[in-house]
């Protein structure tokens, strides 16, 4: 290929994508009428965590809206896998494609431009458009409440946390967890170990054991397998879970931060059916009452008094009376992050690369 043809092709491609953008910007998404959703799942439906929580929501939506929702499992985060799955559903008449992964973001954006009549919804995604909405939960709210349980259960005041990768959406659960624990036990300290993997039970077991060796007596988690719960039970300490109610895997589990996608999907699909669906330029960021993460609380070890406190805090988070990241908050290096009387903005949440005082680890 000569230089000239290459250049011309590049220019042509640029022009094409420009027209695509222009069309996308003009087109107001028309309601799809009779909604026919289909789901593309990142993991298997019995992963015990993230993917299973979406599969469980699917079953509730099917019952409540009396529809059947086809679903593809274990579709990796690559365009060559996502595209055929989505196009197969579209060919078969689906008009709402629901994803389930951060790594679907770019492909969903391309698909949404290519299919302006199809609506795309992507939990954990980051791209949005006239017919594409990314959705995530305010997971720090439920993790704050689980942190309260941890603070109340800990005798030593030393709490451990097993986390996947030091991303903002993991960092905020770590910070919220300790803020919650300190609500109950002001002297509580938290040590976090990042495994560097979302679902590596070998590393999670090692991390949990290392924390137990350091004398922690409650373990929190933001990884995809129930391994920390299992190890906590073996060590005779308590734990709190993430994604789903992990008490089914371990008696150590006293509280779980659980996804409630059906609480988001049912009204969302009803809105689409009624022609009232609206574009959200920054996606949807769901609180406890809007279909984000709620708590499955509490286990047998939690006193009625503590449980009442947790539920009261939950009410105050929902009403907006006591947000989790309310100022003044200074990070552990002494930088002021939220001034007195203010609440951390969503933009700052999505850029959280700092930890509150009392958190050890995550260097």
């Amino acid at each position: 290929m000569t230089f000239i043809t290459k250049t011309m092709l590049t220019l042509a491609a640029g022009a094409l994508s420009l027209t695509g953008l222009a069309q996308g910007a003009q087109a107001e998404f028309a309601a799809v009428g009779d909604p026919k959703p289909a789901i593309i799942l990142f993991g298997p439906t019995n992963d015990g965590g993230w993917s299973q929580s979406i599969d469980e929501a699917r079953q509730t939506v099917e019952e409540e809206l009396d529809m059947r929702i086809p679903q593809a499992e274990e579709i990796p985060e690559s365009a060559t896998a996502i595209r055929p799955a989505a196009e197969l559903f579209i060919d078969r008449g689906s008009n709402i494609i629901i994803g389930s992964a951060f790594g679907y973001s770019d492909t969903f954006k391309e698909l949404s431009e290519q299919y302006p009549d199809i609506l795309f919804i992507n939990p954990a995604g980051i791209t949005n458009g006239p017919n594409l909405k990314s959705v995530y939960g305010r997971t720090y709210q439920s993790q704050y409440l689980c942190g309260m349980v941890a603070g109340g259960l800990s005798k030593s005041g030393k709490i451990g946390f097993v986390a996947a990768n030091p991303f903002p959406l993991v960092n905020w659960t770590v910070n919220a967890y300790l803020l919650g624990a300190r609500e109950v036990n002001p002297d509580a300290e938290l040590t976090v170990v990042f495994t560097g993997a979302w679902g590596d039970p070998v590393k999670e077991r090692a991390a949990t054991q290392a924390l137990v060796e350091q004398g922690v007596d409650v373990i929190g988690q933001h990884v995809d397998t129930p391994t920390p719960q299992v190890v906590a039970e073996e060590a005779g300490i308590y734990a709190t879970g993430h994604h789903r109610d992990l008490s089914e895997f371990s008696e150590a589990t006293q509280c779980s931060s659980v996804w409630t996608w059906d609480k988001f999907l049912v009204p969302e699909i009803e809105k689409i059916a009624a022609g009232e669906w609206e574009e959200a330029p920054y996606g949807a960021f769901l609180g406890i009452d809007e279909g984000g993460t709620d708590v499955a609380c509490c286990g047998d070890a939690v006193s009625d008094e503590l449980k009442a406190k947790v539920m009261e805090a939950r009410d105050k988070i929902i009403s907006g009376e006591a947000p989790v990241f309310a100022g003044p908050i200074t990070d552990r290096d002494g930088t002021e992050r939220v001034p007195e009387g203010e609440v951390l903005s969503d933009a700052d949440l999505w850029a959280m690369d700092w930890f509150v005082p009392g958190v050890t680890g995550g260097e």
Binding site: G43, V193, T195, V202, V230, E363
Partner: protein, 295 residues
């Protein structure tokens, strides 16, 4: 002191899967079969270990099953590379993808994911029987490869299959045997990972450790003892990282995670600069042998 004891006691659990997988790879590669399928054989063994354990088999039976599962996948690989003479790299990669999908499918059909179990118990000094057996297996490999007629034949096939063929050795049969033994050891490595270490199945539980074993074999220049030493080094680091973090020492974990690979690079550079040695890369690694065809 506690830190040191806790660290030391946890090293073997991490080192053993690497060591066993590396021994398995050495068998296969000393016979001239470039084996990128380690991750796949380990997954097969890991799944068999979990499946048998969850169905009530004692841990040692489960580990035996893991070896059988590894060897069975090994036979598939052997048919591809030694029988049909398909490119070693492509066959190895294909086997990994096959094993990833197949093990996920079987685990999900049987609801084995996330079911925890007691697994293999410790024998002496906080270590289980496989930990104690691993140096013996390493010794056995050194003896078998270096001191027996079988080992001499196996290495001849890996160094110069044409000459071996002319000397009356059945190259294909020898490679089948080497792959099967190697795959059984890699299956054991995977089985140990689930039955003794993670004590739970999740899809892709091996988590890339097969690829580390491949790097480890290059690091060890295809020598069993050096592979064992390399596995210990990797084990030291894997057991150290979470403890350093849990102890609250401000060491960025990325630097720690880099160290084994830096060591691998250093050894490769060192051995390249030093020139060939007796335990260097097998001369016919990755090459097919087709009788009466010119190389």
């Amino acid at each position: 002191m506690d830190f040191l004891a806790n660290w030391l006691i946890n090293i073997p659990g991490f080192a053993v899967p690497f060591a066993l997988a590396a021994l398995g790879l050495i068998f296969s590669e000393r016979a001239g079969v470039l084996n990128l399928g380690a991750e796949g054989f380990m997954l097969g063994g890991a799944l068999a270990g979990v499946g048998l354990t969850l169905n009530g088999a004692p841990p040692l039976v489960a580990l035996g099953g893991a070896m059988v599962a590894g060897a069975a996948l090994g036979l598939v690989f052997a048919v591809l590379v030694a029988g049909l003479r398909i490119n070693h790299v492509i066959s190895g990669l294909a086997l990994v993808f096959l094993a990833q999908a197949l093990t996920s499918y079987i685990a999900n059909e049987n609801d084995w994911a996330n079911q925890s179990f007691a697994g293999l118990q410790d024998l002496v000094l906080g270590q289980d029987i496989v930990v104690w057996a691993t140096p013996l297996l390493c010794l056995g490999t050194v003896w078998l490869l270096g001191r027996t007629r079988f080992g001499l034949t196996l290495r001849a096939v890996g160094e110069n299959p044409g000459a071996a063929d002319a000397a009356g050795i059945d190259v294909t049969a020898m490679r089948f045997a080497a792959i099967a033994i190697g795959a059984a050891l890699m299956g054991l490595a995977g089985g140990y990972l689930t039955v003794a270490v993670s004590k739970i199945w999740v899809d892709n539980v091996v988590g890339g450790r097969g690829w580390i074993a491949i790097a480890l074999v290059i690091f060890a220049r295809w020598h069993p003892w050096r592979a064992l030493a390399g596995a210990l080094l990797f084990g030291c680091i894997e057991a150290l990282i979470p403890r350093v973090n849990a102890a609250g020492w401000a060491v960025p974990q990325y630097y720690l995670q880099m160290t084994p690979y830096l060591a691998t690079l250093a050894v490769m550079i060192w051995s390249a600069a030093r020139g060939g040695d007796r335990w260097a890369q097998p001369a016919a690694l990755g090459q097919h042998h087709i009788r009466e065809e010119r190389d």
